[in-house]
Symmetry: C2
Subunit: 105 residues, 2 copies
DNA sequence: TGTATACATGAACAAATGATCATACATTTG
DNA sequence: CAAATGTATGATCATTTGTTCATGTATACA
């Protein structure tokens, strides 16, 4: 039987480390963290919703959103004039929670 | 009584989001992820150990290491000619594990 | 004291990022 | 179709990052 608490042992491949870095990098920005927060609570929001809630320009919101979509963190679907974004890679929520939980921050 | 599984609801402050972003940014690099990996398994390693294991120049390793130390992720202590670095913020291990566990990566 | 070994540091430069602006595209409605 | 609304995109620019190189500092040891 494997012990329930194995010694830390992960040995990621170089490729995997690059992918992980890629995702972390995509998440590592206050505005993008805020976006993830909103979408963790809302299921889906339009670009306007987000830019208003975060008090940023529409264009900037769109840039962040499409970037995050391109990198696989978000997905989007159009409904009339609006484009609604939602979380695709929900794991990033846990990642943020994990760091945010550090009491010393 | 608070429910044990609350709906996703974290509402981090702007300051907290900036701090989280700061930590993620500091971690978001293949070499630095590799360093965390090594230190997750070794407790402490010298600059030379690390630069050899990762096949990078001493100078580059030192830059990454002192940066991570400055940002609170690592700590260091000198023993003779060597400086040994070790993980201070072990939470970053979980963060990396979390993303690395995504099957689609 | 001088030399070797281990690290640190700063300059310099290329590349990536983030923000803003202007403008283009898409959809609805009059 | 024209105007209004919502979103995307590309150019530009300032800032930050990552790397390399040269050199400086610290410790050990002959």
């Amino acid at each position: 039987m494997a012990p329930t608490t194995a010694p830390v042992e992960m040995n990621l491949s170089i490729e995997k480390m690059e992918k992980v870095a890629f995702i972390l990098k995509t998440t590592a920005h206050p505005t993008r963290i805020a976006i993830v927060q909103l979408l963790a609570a809302q299921e889906s929001l339009s670009v306007n919703d987000i830019s208003e809630r975060l008090n940023i320009e529409q264009s900037l919101a769109s840039h962040h959103l499409s970037g995050m979509k391109l990198k696989g963190i978000l997905s989007s679907s159009r409904d009339g004039k609006n484009v609604f974004y939602s979380l695709k890679m929900r794991e990033v929520v846990d990642v943020i929670q994990c760091i945010a939980a550090c009491t010393f921050l």
